[in-house]
Structure formats: C-alpha cells, structure tokens
Symmetry: C2
Subunit: 508 residues, 2 copies
C-alpha cells in the first residue's frame, strides 16, 4: 500500500504521511457510499443548510486550514485567507441558488387539445441531479478549486453527492476539508458520505471509470485532463466531463493604449502575471504589444516592476517551469529582457524568479517550433509578442487555441468600429473578454463565465458562478402526470414557490 | 465516384441516381462554405425570417416533398403530410424562440466596488453560436429529423450554419429539401451556404472530423451513433456530440390498471408499437404486465387488435428486424402470441407483420442471453414481460439501460405513495415520464424533453422543443467593457428589448 505524503514545496521535504493511496476497492466503496447518500440530498432546504453549515465550519477551522494549506502550497497566509473567504462565499452563494430555485428551469405547458399541428398533452419539465460527481482538485487552489471548491459546491447544490480526488500537492488540506464537509453533513442531518475523498494517482482513472460515477469536474493540466476526458468518453456509458485544462489568456495592447497608459499597463501586467507566482489558470501568458516606442515603454514598465521570487506549488512544477523557460529562450529571436529562472537569492532553496520573453509576431505566426509559445507555461512567465500591424496582431490571435480569457487595453477614446471588431474577435477565442483590466481575479457572480473553447474547457460550461450548477443536472419531462404524483416542484399550485415558465409566460 | 441511389423500400428496386457520394474534398468545401456564411447569421431578425420563409417554401412544395419522401420511405402520404406540418411548425416555433431572445440567457451584474469577498467588476454574459453544426439525418423521419428537421432548425435559430449528412434511405428528399432551405436563405438575403448537404457513408466521419465542425446533432442507431461520438470525442479538439441513439421505452401496467382498463390499454399499446411500422425512437419496446387474469386480458387485447403489415424503411432494416425477431423467439421461455415476421399476405413483397413476444420477468432479470430483450428491436415488435411482484417489476426496470421515455398505466384512483414512487423511479431511467398515455407522438413544446440517460442520448440535452437550441451555444462574459463596444444584446439601455437578469432580478 503506497503512502501519500504531504510535502513542503519551499524545501521539497516531506512533512509527514497523510494516508494510504486509495485502492480500486477504496474508490468503489467511496462511490457506492456516495450513491447511497444521494436520495438524502433530494431535500433542497437541507442542501442549502449543508452548504451554509460547511462555510461556517470551514471558517471556524480557518486558522488550521490556512496553516495547513500554506505548509503544503507555499501560497502564503494572505492569499489563502482570501481564498478561504472566497470558498465560503461560494458555498453560501450556491445555497442562495438552491433556495431561489430558478436553476430547476421549471417549464409547464398545459394540455391543449386544439393545438396545431397536433393536440398537446400536459407537459412539465424541470431538472434533476445526475448522480455521483467525481471532482478533481486543482493544484493551484487548495481550497476554492479543491475539496470545498466550486465543483463540490455546485454539485452538492444540484443534489449530487461528490467524491473528490485530492490533489497530490495538498493531501493534508484535502483530508482536513473533507472531514469538515462530512461533519457539516452530519450536523444538518445528512449522511456524511455525501462527500467522499480518495487519494493517490491511480484513484483518478478508477473514479472516472466507476459505473456509478455520473459526471466529472476537473481543473488541471491539458495532459492530465485530456487523459481523464478520454476515459470518460470511452466508457461503455460515456459521462459528461467538465474539464478546465489550460489557457494562454492573450492580452492585446493597442498602439494608442500604449501611448497613453504605458506605465499603468506595464505595472498591471507585472502584477497580474506574477500573482500567486503565475500559477493561475487565467495568468496572462501572451501579450501583444505594438512595435515602436510606446510598446517599448510598456515593456520597460513591466521589466522595471518589482516582482517577488518564490517557490512554486511543487518541485515537479518547478522543473517543468524551468524547462519551459529554457526551451522558449532557446528559440532564435526570443529575447529575455527579464530572465526567469532559479532565484537563488533568497532563503527558499526552491524559489524561482519571474521573467518576461519577447518575440516578433511574424515568428509566432510561422508556427513550427514557435508553437511552443502558444502553449501555457505554468508559472511566472509571460511572452511579449511585438506586432507591427493589425494584420500581424490578428494572425497571432488567429493561431491561438481556445482560451479562458482574452483581454484588450484601449485608449480612453478608442470606442470606434476597430475597437468593437477587436472585442468581438476576442469573444470568438475566449469565454471571457476583459477590457482595460486583467484576467486574474475571477469574480464569483451569476454573469461569470470561467470556461472557453478547447483546451480552455472540454465543454461549453463554466466552473465559476451560479450557472456552474447546470453541469450536474438533466431535464426530465412529465407528460399527463396526475398532480398528486408529480414532484412538488411541478405541481399546479406551485407549493415550493418556484419561478417558472407557464404556457410561455415567465412568473417569479 | 460512387453513385447515391434512391431506392423504393416497397420493392427494394432503385428509383434512380440522386448524385455522387461526397468526397473528402466535397465535405471540406461544404464545411468551409458554411463557416464562411456564419457571420451573416449573426442577425437575429434575419434568422427568424429564414426559418419562417423555409417553412413557407416547404409548404409550397408540399406535394412534391410528400410524394418523394413516400417513394423513398414507404411511410405513406398521411403520415408524411403530418410530418411536414410538424416540421414547418417546428421551424416557425424556433423563429419565435429567436425573436423572444430568452435563449440568449442575458445576465448582467453591475460593478460593485464594495462587494464581499472582493470588489466586483461589471460583468455581462450571453450566449453565442458555436459555429458549423453537422447534422445527421434520421432514417425514420425524412423531414422532422432530417434536412429541414429539429437539429437544423435549432442550429440555424442559434446562429449556426448547418451541414447535413443525408440519410441513405431518402437522398432524393434530402436534396429536394436542402435546395428549398438554400432558396429560403437567398430569399431573405442570406448566403445559401448556411445550409449544406453531403451524401454517402464516408461523408459522415469526414464531417465529424473536420476542424471547422463545431458540434454534431445525430439521430440514429446505437452502433452508428457511438462510432461517430467516438470520433467527435477523440478529435484533437473534441466537440459536443448530441446524439439520440436508442431506447426501449418501457411501459409498466399496474395490476389495478390492468383490472380496470385492460381493453383500452391493450388497444392503445397495439396502436403505439405499430405506429409508423414500429420505426419510432419512442416505440414502446418492453411492456411490464402483471401475471394473472388481468394482465392476460391486456395481452389478449393487444394480440386481438388489427395491426397493419407493411414495408420497413429499407431492406437492410427489414433483415435486421427479422433476424432480431428470430433470435429473441429462440430464447427458451419466450413465446410469440402474435408472430412477427415476413408478411407475404399483401401486395408489397418486402412487407413485415407486427408481433408480440412474452417472457417472464425472472428470465429477463437473469441477464445472459436474455439481455437481448433489453435492446431495441427497430420495427413493429414489442416484448411483454410478465411480473409477479413489484420486486420482479423493479428488478427488470433496474436492469434497463437509459431511455427516452418511460410510461406507466395506473387505475384512476391509484394516487398513493406506491404510484408516486413508481413515477419517481421511472424518472431515474428516462427523460420523459408518461402516465396513462403512450410515448409515441413527441410534442414540439417548450417543456418537452426528448433525450435521456445513455444510450437514449449521448448528452443531457433534448433534440425536440425550444430548449434544443441550447445545444449549439456557449456563454461569453464581458468584463468591464465600455457600453459602445458591447454587443447590442448586452448594452445597458437594452436596445433589443431582451429579457434579462440584472443584479439578480429577472426582467421581461
């Protein structure tokens, strides 16, 4: 039985044994227990209660959670305290979503014997939970995209029990948080198995293959996510796989924006690409700057900004980051005005230094080995691409794979057709378009879309915001069902006071 | 270059050459032309116009369409005239959906610098079309689920150009209808390539593999659908595959329903399983009847009903049907109170006779070779399973794969917990639950759900009803985008008068 260890990313040294890697039998047990707990989640009020109680209990153990997560992730207590607040906000926001009930999408069409082209029977439709959801925790958010994170919160809100595959970077945090979620379930009178946890690499494929697993939520790398997506799609019964895999998050700075706001844009970019040591899925990884003095001024401001060295989430990621920097720098025509690499200049032996690369747009559009510049390099690196014309700019944008975000910086008076076309063009390659801001900092709100064309996502869904609940539901229509036999959500008198669309008219 | 022939299913004889099978180059050309036409579909008013004009032009050529479809499908002019009416209704219904604009799901969250846990930027979200949709026409609906059918109508409504893969059973109808749709496009000032058509077996995989194909709609067999699903999922960039593959559509008759309504239920079942020669995806293929005299009375009524012999859609399907009947009848314990098989008793040499098989529930639950009884047998055959207890009944229901529909017949006063539990149980295995009715006849209405757990569907979507449009859209969020640069759908003043949710409040 192989051990699962918690490791200090600042030193690479093990902190201790967290448990044993889950065997196939362990995974089977966890999924079956979760499936058995599913009916208890049918009570919406209790689900809302669960989500709020979980938030309260997480806050109560906040110090221990932050300390444990920091020891395993080196993300620092300030960031992790903020992440915990976000996590708890998210749990409570989904409690509100559950109570409001709009997500059930109740549609009622009364019978109409005289309808054309055929008589219409009474039809009533709402959404029901899919079943056990497998959640893959992300390396870079030990809380908000991990055990108590958005996938778990939205799945529980939908009425789906959850089995989380812990990320190897923070197993102790995972065990701690899973225990708290299970305690919250017991506190509100639900079976603790509405949340399960499995550990170790092999548990991942097992979890996706399990016949009772009904859907998957994943946040991670293109390679890992695609491998699991392929398993989900090739099952005898394929299941939805909502994966967020990778994104370059291009930023375009127009010539006039560079002329009018070089320092501000440069400082903003420096802060954004180094935030959390560049370990955000929405890190701006490719920046299109205009050739010439204004663009150079932006670049100078980026390079001049004070940026922190620090450790990455784990030694393997550090190696991948350093290798990614090396291979990019080796490309002819790529310069490094701010050299990323081993830090060596502070107390943390595994720290790395953020950096900036530059390259001409014509090279990138060439493809070949330059395609590497169109792949995400996880960590504090951004690639500045100098463009000489909108044709060059658009050639680079057109060569990009799908993205979570795309950003444009404009001058204050750039509100013309060209600017509008640019914004429209960016919406074709990303799930979120940002103007005069930075993609880092994903707001938890109903209008958020955190997802985008592949490989940003494997589906058209979002993993952040209220509509993330839609991933775990399927519609069911009831035809000609007598009122007493209908689920309460669909009864004529609307006993649950749900918003619904009746004969085409929406009622609150 | 291989010929595509139109064949008379009543005789098996070719009616004539329709065209050449599309080559890889033909498919590439069709998809590229469709993609080039996509921007023109951005105008919602024009899309609504296109859908209504298409309906009008189809009606204008109604006689020719019905005659051609009948010659290729043998479905008969009455059924096909009804199907054409349904098809035109569907096109117009989607025009209404486009104009109403609720499907855009506009959500606006205004900026809130004081929001907890973090300041909120201005966020605005709506849904945009995915791109070129590949539509696979169904054998059994030459109109309503083929070239001018629900997938095409919903995709065009969403703003997606369509390339249809014609079904080999009705190529002449396909060419005729595609021409009409393209003429409708020209009439409303759109490029004709918003609808394309490809012919021949090899065109299918090519179409799914094409890099510019953004999503697939499919109605057909489990084998064919799964093969295409696998291609869609294993592309370098996987795409959504909305497939409706196969369904047994179980019917449960309770003992008390059998006691009180044996003749009515028997006659209804006979009409439903033979409708359209049993070639509906919602044909009731497995009927759970109670053991004993009441159940026998239902069976007698089914067997006694006059049912028509007739040809199937093509000679290959006829062979598959006859082989399916033979292998089921060969199972020990399977009886055939009404023997399905070659008709030989009317003028059509390729006609078949509907039939009913019976088997005890205990056998079915045994699995092994009896699993064949849990697979769809396309054509006019239904399998009556006699159950001696609710345990036996539920064991059979529990062994079923996913279904489009599940039906229960109750006595007029069965409104108790047991009936409620039965309805709830059926909703776990199907997308639509019917009480005291029959699954055949799928109403085009907002509350319809035509889809269900795999293999009924490969996704959680519906292919019939207003919400079918959701399959071809993805959300995009605009963050901090100045009003003049926003798409009109998201501008503050709501110039398009769209329903939207603003700061959590839904406005009409």
């Amino acid at each position: 039985m192989s051990d699962v260890l918690s490791v200090d990313p600042r030193t690479g040294r093990p902190r201790g044994r967290v448990g044993a890697a889950s065997t196939a039998q362990d995974v089977d047990r966890a999924v079956r227990a979760a499936a058995a707990a599913a009916p208890a989640l049918g009570d919406r009020a209790r689900r809302a209660d669960l989500l709020r109680t979980a938030a309260a209990l997480l806050e109560k153990s906040g110090d221990e959670i932050v300390a444990t997560a920091d020891a395993e992730s080196a993300l620092g207590p300030v960031r992790l305290t903020g992440e915990l607040a976000r996590t708890c906000y998210q749990l409570r926001a989904f409690a509100d979503v559950v109570e409001a009930g709009a997500y059930l999408d109740v549609i009622i069409d009364h019978a109409d014997p005289s309808a054309a082209p055929a008589p219409r029977p009474d039809l009533r439709r709402y959404k029901v939970p899919l079943g056990v959801v497998a959640v893959f925790a992300a390396s870079n958010f030990p809380l908000a995209f991990s055990v108590p994170g958005g996938d778990t919160a939205s799945a529980l809100a939908a009425g789906c029990p959850v089995v989380v595959k812990a990320h190897p970077d923070h197993p102790a945090t995972s065990v701690l948080c899973a225990g708290i979620l299970r305690a919250a379930a017991v506190e509100v009178g639900l079976p603790e198995d509405v949340v399960g946890l499995v550990l170790g690499f092999d548990a991942g494929p097992e979890l996706v293959r399990h016949p009772l697993t009904a859907a998957v939520g994943f946040t991670g790398s293109v390679r890992g996510g695609r491998a699991l997506f392929d398993i989900a799609s090739s099952r005898p019964r394929p299941i939805p796989f909502h994966g967020e895999l990778g994104s370059l998050n291009p930023v375009v700075v127009t010539p006039r924006a560079a002329e009018t706001r070089a320092d501000e844009i440069g400082a903003g970019l420096a802060a954004s690409y180094t935030l959390g040591m560049g370990q955000f899925c929405v890190k701006p990884g490719l920046v299109l700057l205009p050739e010439g003095p204004a663009g150079e001024a932006v670049l100078r401001a980026v390079v001049a900004a004070a940026v922190p060295s620090g450790p990455l989430l784990d030694p393997r990621m550090r190696e991948a980051f350093l290798a990614g920097v090396r291979s990019r720098v080796a490309l002819p025509g790529v310069a490094e005005p701010l050299a990323a690499g081993e830090a060596g200049d502070d107390g943390a032996p595994l720290a790395v230094r953020p950096g900036v690369l530059t390259v001409a747009a014509a090279r990138v559009a060439d493809g070949g080995p330059y395609e590497e510049l169109l792949e995400e390099c996880f960590g504090p690196l951004t690639v500045v691409v100098r463009y000489g014309s909108t044709v060059e700019r658009d050639a680079v944008l057109g060569a990009l794979p799908g993205n979570l975000t795309a950003t444009v910086h404009l001058a204050a008076d750039e509100r013309d057709d060209a600017a509008q076309a640019l914004v429209a063009g960016l919406s074709a390659i990303a799930g979120r378009v940002v103007v005069d801001g930075w993609p880092t900092g994903v707001t938890v709100a109903p209008a958020m879309q955190h997802g985008g064309p592949y490989p940003a996502s494997t589906s058209t869904s979002t993993s952040v915001g209220s509509t993330a609940i839609e991933r775990w539901l399927r519609p069911v229509c009831y035809q000609n069902v007598p009122d007493p036999l209908l689920p309460a959500e669909l009864r004529e008198a609307n006993p649950l006071h749900l918003p619904r669309t009746v004969d085409g008219v929406r009622t609150a």
